[in-house]
Symmetry: C4
Subunit: 249 residues, 4 copies
């Protein structure tokens, strides 16, 4: 039950739930050196093993010289860890259900109890506000800082036309929030459609969790789901390790 094994499981779990595909990444702050974090080399999350994990400082420089290429967007992670001492794990994901919220005037609101954290506010970061004509990637510290600033003290921030970044005090929380953000987005769109059919122009009548409920649910740490994912992945990772041909170039 090591931190690096958990980082592998977090990556695989996000991929299996469809919130990241070949792109997107998960990181975790070092337990021994809080000024460092771990993240995989530039490889699809579905393929990550412990051997793919690299250590970075909070400027997103690699601790060990040489070796395989790192993700271009590692600055998302370094700059958030710098700005948010309470954050110990970060998921940068591409949930398809969430992207439409990032490019419309439509705000994510908590409709499902397991996504109550949305009530703490999910700002949207548009990279255009930091750099016009970019290739949409958070390729340097300045862009990472801009995103971290938009995130502020919130549990997540949408990235326009791209995805979102979700943070937490543990891998379980960051992954759980990522998956239920996706589920909430789907349910909220359906509820809005339904409400508009039932009572045109009365979109505000959808009943979301209220502030007191959001506050009362701040304890949610996704312990039972994390236990499920670990229990499912441990034997699969062991079986993969016994099949040496399943390795990426």
């Amino acid at each position: 039950m090591s931190l690096l094994q958990d980082l592998v499981i977090a990556s695989r779990t996000c991929a299996e739930h469809g919130v990241i595909d070949a792109y997107g990444h998960v990181s975790v702050r070092s337990e021994t050196s809080p000024e460092r974090y771990w993240m995989a080399r530039a490889v699809a999350p579905e393929l990550i093993t412990e051997a793919d994990l690299l250590e970075f400082d909070l400027d997103s420089n690699r601790i060990q010289d040489g070796g395989p290429a790192a993700y271009n967007e590692r600055y998302i992670h370094g700059e958030i860890y710098k700005a948010r001492p309470d954050v110990h794990a970060i998921v940068h994901n591409h949930s398809h259900a969430v992207v439409p919220f990032s490019c419309t005037g439509c705000r994510l609101r908590p409709i499902f109890h397991l996504a109550a954290f949305i009530g703490e506010g999910i700002p949207t970061w548009d990279i255009r506000d930091a750099q016009r004509g970019s290739d949409m990637l958070v390729r340097n510290s300045q862009l990472g800082q801009s995103l971290a600033q938009k995130l502020g003290s919130h549990p997540a921030a949408l990235m326009r036309g791209h995805g979102s970044v979700v943070v937490g005090a543990s891998l379980a929380i960051a992954v759980g929030r990522t998956i239920y953000l996706d589920h909430n987005a789907k349910m909220q769109l359906q509820a809005m459609q339904m409400q508009a059919l039932q009572s045109p122009g009365q979109l505000d009548e959808v009943v979301y969790l209220d502030d007191a409920e959001v506050e009362a649910l701040s304890w949610q740490a996704y312990v039972r789901s994390w236990d499920l994912w670990r229990t499912q992945w441990l034997p699969r990772l062991a079986a993969e390790a016994a099949q040496p041909q399943i390795t990426s170039s």
Copy 2:
């Protein structure tokens, strides 16, 4: 073909059909002691084996002292068994298609013959009516009683922003109703969208099952689907039992 084996199969089947994930739970009334019911310890339904099952009285106290933690929300089950002698199985689920019906003015109606029971009425329970500022969970007998009262003599009740509780005279019925409630919700939303496109403002022209059809279908016990699920799960459970590493912490 024991009751406890069937409870395992019911839990796995609900998880496989996506109506419960790490959360949600299934229970069954004891065959020998109608003042008792069986439910798993606090573990994800996908992982449940017979060894995880615990016995409770109708106040949701455990019959055997000690052992692993129980679900916080077991009061849903105990209070409904107390109020409804006809109920022998209960599914508390989080179907994503059903949640939007719980927080909009849109009523579930029977559009598909295998979900005819919806015509018996599906009330919506809002926990706010019993407790303001809750964490949405049915954590005690009072909340369980409030939910059971809203359920009344109906086959199911929606829980606002949370999911639903579905009851039946057998595990087959409770599970079958849960799955077809989910399917009906999806079809009903599509029919409403279609009708609004075709004839704006004429939402009432969707043709639902009428009361006589609902009554004529009250025999539905989901025998064939239950036979399918048991037939599919028995060899899988046997294979799992032969792989001791697949166990939850």
Copy 3:
């Protein structure tokens, strides 16, 4: 490559594509006795093997006395074979995407070339027109005749609040039409939604296949997809046959 093996493959394929679940059934006219047809005993299609197949006359009486129970709705099949000498295979399915078309004023139209047959017309049968207060099932010859009459010379008929019946000159055609009817229904709903967003009130501007295109595509016999399904199912059926425990009660 026997007819009965093909009937097993047709049943499994429909189940795997989600157009039938525990309910729904596929039949095929006898090659040697055109006044007879084959269909499984009352079991979920996912479980069917050749040992489950029964022979019926066109009044849907069993040729062999005794044995396991037959589907209550076998009259759908018998009455259509009686009325339609050109039909050699029938799928009664519960496609979720198709049901909403059966209970709204919205007509299925051919939007995708592999579902061109929809242009030949898909009438909707409401069992209420034959029997009020039914349990929605085609339980006898009279109801089967009513449905067959509504089907007329068309390739399929919707059954309100229930599903549809799809016919063809071969199992490949009946199964292929069933699956692409489902796909077309999904695409058509999306196209209607899109058109309404783009040009409110201009629903007629969706471009469907025209009559000449429908006619030009009447050769479609789904040969390549049938070859795919057979190729995929043959080794799976062989593997199942080697695992005697996977049998239904």
Copy 4:
């Protein structure tokens, strides 16, 4: 890591992502003879192995006489290779999410950074403009030329009521674009629905990638996803090769 092995992997990947089923096909320009291309015999992409691949000249005549039947629609490929020296791989697909864009007045626009290429323009080809009353298939050089002309210098063209053709400088690019075209179509529909709910009549307020962002993303070659797909398929293909019964008729 041969070109033909990559063509097999490209075909399987498209099938696994649901953008082609039994129909649709992938081709690649010969590395040694740019006036030739490779494509499978007329078989479902899920079944293709290297033994199924045939070589064609740019008039879509087979280089080797005899042997199994070729796809009727190979002219799509030959005529595009003729017109576009920059194109080295082509996917003709049936993505269900994309078809509705082909038959409505609704234009695909880049909403997701991995589908930025959509900003280079995706024209729609209606076969009716070249031939009225066709069976929708690109059965000859004239139809292929008409489609190639509509495609022009764009990365893809929609085919009304049928699917699309997507091109690229490599198999990775053609396959990556095909899959993200499908994803973008789904997200765009949701964003349009959401925007219309939030601000009726303000559909233009959806924020798409702007021209500078599209230009800045022209480097996208889907290297990491292609590495993922190859890594996943190589052991599966090796396992299949060891099971000689999995072969198509």
